[in-house]
Amino acid sequence: MQLDEPVLDDLVTGATILAAGGGGDPYLGKLMARLSIREHGPVPLLDVAEIPDDARVVFVAGMGAPSVVVEKLPRASEIVAALDTLEQHLGYRFTHVAPAEAGGLNAVIPVTAAALRGIPMLDADGMGRAFPTLDLVTPALYGASTTPMSLVDEHGNRLVITAESNDWADRIARSAMITSGCVMMSALYPMSGAQAKQWLVRGALSLATRLGKVVRTARAGHTSPVDAVVAERGGARLFDGKVVGVERATEGGWTVGEAVLQGLDAFAGQQFRLGFRNEYLVGRRDGRIVATTPDLLMALERETGAPIPAEELRYGYRVAVIGLPCDERWRTEAGLRASGPRRFGYDVDFTPVEASNNDTVTDEVAR
């Protein structure tokens, strides 16, 4: 698969859906990727199965506050410098890059690295969605180390961190990022081709592209983009409603809050509570949990299917809340420990979106 401009448009729409309400606005990433493709040509997007076991793979990602990135715009030279810096430390060149997360801005940041370096990008990522910290990646479930990782900023500072644990890596990287001014570019989780095959979420970018494509096609054909997304990924349309209240607070640097929705159409008379902590994490319909992290919860504009990030969700929006299944590894015991609702402070058990499908059926029969 070649990543060219038309594919990029679909990829970005899909990445915003997979961002599950967080992940940062991919508009800037799209502009970067588009420029890179225009100057250097389309980027090959490879299935992990196609790469040799001794390939040298690395995640390329931006770290920072979305509200700072819109002001201190990403720079291609920093993205490449993040690769250079880690390569100098390791003493070899990378043959492939991959996104750490297929959701949001970071889904497309590696496109610039791949285009400028003339190397392929993998059709795979480390989350299958977006999460708020870079230790929440599937390789970590196999014991992979975040470090050595590089961090590069616009002042010319270049750091390499070799940390004692992934938790330390995240904390130290975060401190450096804040000190530098809240945006840095990073290359992290260096891995072999063999490891990438085992560790990564295969097909994450082609999934994003397909989601973007079904939204576009549904809009053009005047059918429901929301239903198209749900059908494409095998998820569930959990609720349709109008936002009647949003509470937001800051807790340890996260945007934490809950939106309350009043049901429309098939859901008239019901209420939905959508909890978020950067990403949408827990959905309750009439008091009962219908979906939780690590499955993906997303709010889409009912008619256009436009994804609405948690930061932008406001009173009066009419949205469909959808649930999409996550990568199976997040549903293992270790996966849920890392990414389940309790990890984010919700004292509830993981509920897979498939269960809500049965619920919906039962509810409708009962009515």
Partner: protein
Amino acid sequence: MRIGIDVGGTNTDAVALDGERVVAWTKTATTADVLSGVAAALGAVATQVGTAAVEAVVIGTTQFVNAVVEARRLAPVVVIRLATPPQTLGPFTDWPQSLAGAVRAQAHVVGGGHQFTGESLQALDADAVREIARNAPEGCEFVVSGTFSPVNPDAELEARDLIGEAQPGASVTLSHQIGRVGMLERENAAILNASLRPLADRVITGFAGALADVGLDVPLFLSQNDGTVMNLALARAFPILTIASGPTNSMRGAAFESAETDCVVADVGGTTTDIGLVQGGFPRESAIAIDLAGVRTNFRIPDVVSLGIGGGSLVAEHDGEVIVGPESVGHRLTERALVFGGDTLTLTDVAVAAGLAEVGDPALVAHLEAAFTGRVLAHVHERIAEAVERAKLSAAAVPVIAVGGGAFLVGDEMPGVSAVLRPGHAPVANAVGAATANVGAEIDRIYSLTERSRDDVLDEARRTARARAVEAGAVAGTVRIVDEEDLPLAYLQHTTRVRVRAVGDLGTIATPREEQIHAAR
């Protein structure tokens, strides 16, 4: 007494407002040169009330937004971004080629700018700024867009001074004066503003001349996007802040006329129907990035649903299916509509045939069958009712205010609507909105909460906004906070972005009676 004038694509309207009462109004066709239409409307109203009674004139105009949409009459702009060079996403990124071609003279990135905390990002490269200013093409406009200038404008101010030294009298738009956080969007808005400045100069000089011609020696203001006014010096400097004044004036005018502060306004013009929500007397603003002629900006403009239905909309029926709009005869209604002896079936003709409107010669549409006009109007009512439903924020029934030249196209009953109100001067609501405009100021800043409480910074933001509103000409006792939000910044501990907007009555012309009324609210 104030005169409000609205220059639209089709009509130029004027009203004279005495306190809260419309005492005179006129509706004229917008002329090709705009100015003669303004002069005629102004003259007509001023004559009715007597020039001596007029205290101020407020004009809302679509000329600037039209210039941007048409990419005409725009000045060449030299952009200097203060950031870390090189920038991958430089100035004019993602602009439509035609507009960039009309506006772009040069684009530079120079070391400078600030961090989100307001600290310096790096020292300003003063030599580079001087060099650019010295070599800039003659007659160009300048834009300086500095990283985090809404938090700290120092770098932009320093660059402006350097440009002024190298090119005395240079016209410089600073991005922090225009927009909020978001480099590309704010810079884009600043560039559009700069490109409009020479046109604004000519337009405003023309308006001032029109006032003098009818013997009015009173303050003249321009309406801006948020329902407040600018004096002429500000309007010459920031014409971009007028681009959404049309829908804003329409919505505020309708709410004012019907004495409703919370309602849905349906403004039916010649080509479109604009539907939006008014809360507390001000239009609800859009939260998302706004595309202006294909350029992404981050203005707050009224959140309006636009339907391709208006008095001039073409009407047809194929195989029993009614088709209305989006094509319209627009400002040529009085030439082309059947009731005016033209050859084109428009919605106005249908309304006249159905007895809803009295314009032109009804005999010319007597052949339209009642069953047909009934089907057309039912279709129009249904589409408007759907859009009203989308604009509402809650299931609770709200009043709908129908205004604009085609207000008769809004049905009398709609689901979820408590009443459809048709205020007395509905056809000139925009001009009423212009006449009733307030003065305001907005703060949009990122605050650190490491040493201060959230309440403390909110208080400071409110105080600053109130003080700025007074500086802008508001009467101190009338200033109120109409909108505020604070958003914690993701990934940053103890940091919040605060936005507060304060408005008050226009001080120079507020009468004691008005002050009391507003203070009591």
